[in-house]
Structures are given as structure tokens and as C-alpha cells.
């Protein structure tokens, strides 16, 4: 237990002392601050662009609302932030193996299971904290810009996305524990994202598997969402299984 807590402490210190603090937290905060403002001024921006190019044609855009701000947030989470998660987590374990740091710490009283679990917990905590701060900022800026910002649906959309992202953290950890190449793990991560997108076209997969979480945050914001209980439960169970498999594989690997 000593080894696990000490290593977990190292993981958290590493987040704050290296580039890791700037990537996912930086991206979420940036989109949280700019999304509502962009949503508010999109009609004016589009209007000014069209004015110079299509003489005689008038495009009427509806007045923006807090829903547009929330949609900006969920779209950014589902694409750019998730891609950043895939890239960062692709080297979660393999980077330590490649740098030779794992070769020292794993000869001390730190089991390989603790090593993998501490990595998952620290990465998940970073993701949870980043999305929580991002959601709060989105809510605050949206309220400031639109005078209206219901918190419940924003929290629900962010929470559902978080479950989906944690599934990817677990999957990338499994890949990183199984192979030495970070770029190969990242490539497979993007492949899994594409497969889930294709899977979402099949109704049973959409209802009962993680495929149902891909578009869920946006649907929650627009009020078009059906129950996401099964996809959430399936994703959490699958994430747990993937971490367990990562532990089992890493215990057998040569370092």
C-alpha cells in the first residue's frame, strides 16, 4: 500500500510539474471560456462573412441561446478534448517503459498492479477535474452572456461524456500496457472511436452499448436524449474490465 500511495503521489506531482497540466485542462478551460462567447456572436460573424460574398441573398439565423453555448461545449468535448485524451493516454505506460523509469520503480516494493491502477486513477482524476472546472466555467460564462444557464442538463451532458472518456482512458491504458509504441496505441484509439461511431448506426448497439454515449451529450443538451442508463453501465463495466486486462497483461510483460 505504501508503494501504491507513493507512486500515486508521484503521478499527481508529475501532472502539475510537466506539460500534462497544460494539455487537457488547458484545452477544456479554453473551450469553456470561448464557447459561449463564440455561440453568442456566431450570427454576426456569419452575417458579416456572407455580406461580402453573396449579394442579394439574405440568410436569417435564429437568435442564439444558452443551448448553442452548451452545444459548443459538448461538441468540443466529444471531438477535440476526446482526441487529446487519446493522444495523451497513448503513452500512459509505454512512455515509462521506454524511458527506463519503470525499470527502477518496479524493482522496489511497488507491484505492477499498483503501477497500472495508480496511472489510471491519476489520469481519470485529471480528466474529472478538468471537465468539472470546464463545465463550471461554461455555465458561468453562458449565464454572463445569455442571462440563462440551466445547470442540470449541462452537468448531465458533461457527466455522460466523462463516462465515455473514462472508457477511452481505460482502453488506451490497455493498449499502452500491451505495446511499446505510443503512436500505434493512439492510432488504435482513433480506430476504436471510428468503430463506435459506426456501431452507433445499429439500434441495439446504440441502446445497450458504449456506442450510445457518442452523441448522447449533444442530445441531452437539445432535449432529444433517450435513457442512457444502459450505455453508461456498459461503459463503466467495460472500463473496469479493460483496466483489469491491462493489469493482467502488464504483469506478464518484459520490461
Amino acid at each position: 500500500m505504501n508503494g501504491f500511495l507513493a507512486f500515486l503521489g508521484k503521478e499527481f506531482r508529475e501532472i502539475f510539474r510537466t506539460w500534462r497540466i497544460w494539455v487537457i485542462p488547458g484545452i477544456t478551460v479554453f473551450f469553456a471560456l470561448t464557447g459561449p462567447v463564440l455561440a453568442r456572436f456566431t450570427p454576426e460573424i456569419v452575417g458579416s462573412l456572407m455580406a461580402g460574398q453573396s449579394a442579394g441573398v439574405t440568410i436569417e439565423l435564429p437568435d442564439p441561446t444558452y443551448v448553442d453555448a452548451y452545444l459548443q461545449w459538448t461538441k468540443n468535448l466529444s471531438q477535440i478534448v476526446l482526441f487529446a485524451v487519446i493522444i495523451v493516454c497513448g503513452g500512459l505506460i509505454s512512455a515509462e517503459k521506454k524511458a527506463g523509469t519503470a525499470s527502477i520503480v518496479l524493482t522496489k516494493p511497488l507491484s505492477r498492479s499498483s503501477f497500472v491502477l495508480a496511472k489510471f486513477i491519476a489520469a481519470s482524476a485529471l480528466l474529472i477535474a478538468s471537465s468539472l472546472i470546464g463545465a463550471l466555467l461554461t455555465w458561468g460564462v453562458t449565464y454572463a452572456v445569455f442571462d440563462e444557464a440551466p445547470f442540470a442538463e449541462l452537468a448531465r451532458a458533461t457527466g455522460v461524456w466523462l463516462v465515455f472518456a473514462l472508457l477511452f482512458v481505460a482502453f488506451l491504458e490497455l493498449l499502452s500496457a500491451s505495446m511499446d509504441s505510443q503512436s500505434a496505441a493512439v492510432g488504435l484509439g482513433f480506430g476504436a472511436y471510428a468503430l463506435l461511431g459506426i456501431g452507433a448506426l445499429w439500434e441495439p448497439a446504440l441502446r445497450y452499448s458504449p456506442c450510445g454515449l457518442l452523441g448522447a451529450p449533444t442530445e441531452i443538451v437539445t432535449g432529444a436524449a433517450e435513457s442512457v442508463l444502459w450505455p453508461v453501465v456498459a461503459s463503466l463495466v467495460l472500463a473496469f474490465a479493460l483496466v483489469a486486462l491491462a493489469v493482467a497483461i502488464f504483469r506478464c510483460r518484459e520490461l
Binding site: 505504501n2 507513493a6 524511458a99 525499470s103 520503480v105 522496489k108 516494493p109 511497488l110 507491484s111 520490461l255
Partner: protein, 309 residues
């Protein structure tokens, strides 16, 4: 007494390559044990298996009687390990790294602070507050030795510990290893023969994945191969060298400058009887006749055929 390290029939294959080919090794507790072999002999593979980083294909490896494959934290608590190319968290300072590795063992803060100060002083890194990312290879090697000692381990395993050190750093490290004799079992690999001769009391010579010779250094010198005789004669030594070379007890004859002759013999008694007669027969005067100590290098070269030197 339980052996600190014991391996039986240890085999490790990488595809077609057999890195270890039935390695049998016994490292007694309290010894300073040199693990000598040419490049590619299997030294690092052995150390990686013993430290739990790699798994054997077959055979047994035990540390203090406990199987290394199913090693628990209890086994790892007994070990201090330095890999051949140590990797560190570049964003940490040496003090932070020592505190981190010490905390993995659950060492209390007060002890850890005191031990860190002592070990970093020994490693020549006291007062260095820069991040490890800016260290030279030698500094990293010295930090690697310090971190291996942070838990005051019963067994210290070092893979080529002197390879990146300058002469002063090398001397300091070897002195430190010598100072651990009797308190900590030290098992270190190297292909530098002088390091072994300087500090080790026992040695195992490894070649092509097998231990070809193992034992106390003095016993190895005495038991293995030839004794070397050094002769100096008044007159040309070439004719004498030719005659000696045809004798069955002479295993190697090397003429030197100005009447010098170095003869390796498997029967020193017979050589002592015959050589004065040969010198007289050739009309040469005997200036010097002495027995030279066989160096570990000669034993090593003889056993592994000069590979890796």
C-alpha cells in the same frame, strides 16, 4: 546459510537467440561478487531476471530462497537495483527522487532525509538542486547507485555500475562497494577486469549464457590454467623459445625484448627442472628466473577466447 542468489538451469530465449543457456549460479550472502563476461554473454539478462523485470523461459532463480518469478514486495524490499542505463523522472531533483524511491519502501521521513543527505553526499550530488533532466550520464549513474542504496538493502545488484564514470567516480564507487563487504551482498556485472580484481572476493565468468567458471578469485587463479614463468637470459632468447615451445608442459611461450621470455606452463615443477638444463645446453646465461602471478585477465581470456576484450 541461505544463498543470496541461486539459479539452476536458467534459460532465456529471445526468438531463436538463447541469451541464457542453463545458467547455474550461487552467490553467498555477504560476498562482493563480480559477474564477468564479454558483451552479449547474458549478464544484463541475468540481472533483469533476478530483479523481476524479465521472466525466465525455464529454470529457477531465487533470492534469499524466494522465487523471483513470483516475487512479492517482501522480496523487493531486500533488493537494491541499478540497471545498466538508469532512467529517471527528469522533472525531479535528486533529493525529490531519493525521497520518492524511499517512500516506495515506506521509510519514515526522518530516516529518509538523513539517508538522502548521506547517499547524495557519497554520490557527489550534495547541493545539486537542478532537475535530473540536466544531469550528465555520469551524474545519473551516481544517482542510480544512491537510489539503489536508499533502503539499505540486503542485496545490491548493479549492472555495469562503473561504465559511465570518470576515473575518480569509478574509484569512489569501487571503494564504496568494498566498504559494504560483510554487511550487504553486492552482485555486480562488468566487463572491466580491473574492477573485479580490485573489490571482489568471488567471481563468476559468463560466456554464451553459461557460467564457465565460478569461485573465489584466488582459487580461480590457482586452479585454472597455467602458472607463468618469466625468464631473462644472457644472449638471444629466440632459440630457447623454440626449444621450450616443443615441450609438452609449455602451454604458451612469448619472447620479449633483450633476452626476456614469458612461459605459461601447466607443470611448474617440471619446468623448473628442465629450463636450467636447456639454457645451459644452448650456452645462454641465466639472468633472472621468477614465477609471475596469473592475472584474472589471463584466466578470462583463456576461458572465453579473448571475446569482448
Amino acid at each position: 546459510m541461505t544463498a543470496a542468489i541461486e539459479t539452476r538451469g536458467l534459460v532465456k530465449t529471445y526468438g531463436e537467440k538463447r541469451a541464457l543457456d542453463g545458467l547455474d549460479l550461487d552467490v553467498p550472502e555477504g560476498s562482493v561478487f563480480g559477474f564477468l563476461g564479454p558483451n552479449g554473454a547474458g549478464k544484463t539478462t541475468t540481472l533483469r531476471i533476478l530483479s523481476g523485470l524479465s521472466h525466465p523461459t525455464s529454470g529457477e532463480a531465487r533470492i534469499y530462497g524466494r522465487d523471483v518469478v513470483s516475487a512479492t514486495n517482501e522480496t523487493r524490499t531486500d533488493i537494491g537495483y541499478l540497471p545498466d542505463v538508469p532512467g529517471f523522472y527528469d522533472w525531479m531533483t535528486a533529493v525529490e527522487y531519493m525521497h520518492f524511491t524511499g517512500s516506495l519502501f515506506g521509510i519514515d521521513r526522518k530516516t529518509l532525509v538523513a539517508r538522502t543527505e548521506t547517499l547524495l553526499g557519497f554520490a557527489g550530488l550534495a547541493g545539486v538542486h537542478t532537475r535530473i533532466g540536466g544531469y550528465s550520464r555520469g551524474m545519473k549513474q551516481r544517482l542510480g547507485v544512491a537510489q539503489a542504496l536508499v533502503s539499505a538493502p540486503k542485496l545490491l545488484m548493479l549492472d555495469e555500475p562503473t561504465s559511465a564514470l570518470d576515473p575518480i567516480g569509478r574509484k569512489q564507487l569501487l571503494d564504496m562497494i568494498a566498504s559494504l563487504r560483510g554487511r550487504t551482498t553486492v552482485f555486480f556485472s562488468t566487463h572491466v577486469l580491473s574492477d573485479i580484481e580490485r573489490v571482489c572476493d568471488r567471481v563468476a565468468i559468463l560466456n554464451a549464457g553459461r557460467v564457465v567458471k565460478s569461485g573465489p578469485i584466488e582459487e580461480l587463479r590457482a586452479r585454472h590454467g597455467a602458472t607463468r614463468l618469466v625468464l631473462e637470459v644472457a644472449g638471444p632468447a629466440a632459440a630457447l623459445a623454440e626449444r621450450v615451445g616443443s615441450e609438452p608442459w609449455a602451454t604458451d611461450v612469448a619472447p620479449g625484448e633483450e633476452g626476456m621470455l614469458s612461459i605459461a606452463t601447466s607443470d611448474v615443477g617440471r619446468a623448473r627442472q628442465v629450463l636450467p638444463a636447456l639454457i645451459a645446453e644452448l650456452g645462454l646465461g641465466l639472468v633472472r628466473f621468477e614465477t609471475a602471478e596469473v592475472s584474472l585477465e589471463e584466466v578470462f581470456v583463456d576461458l572465453v577466447g579473448g571475446e569482448g576484450l
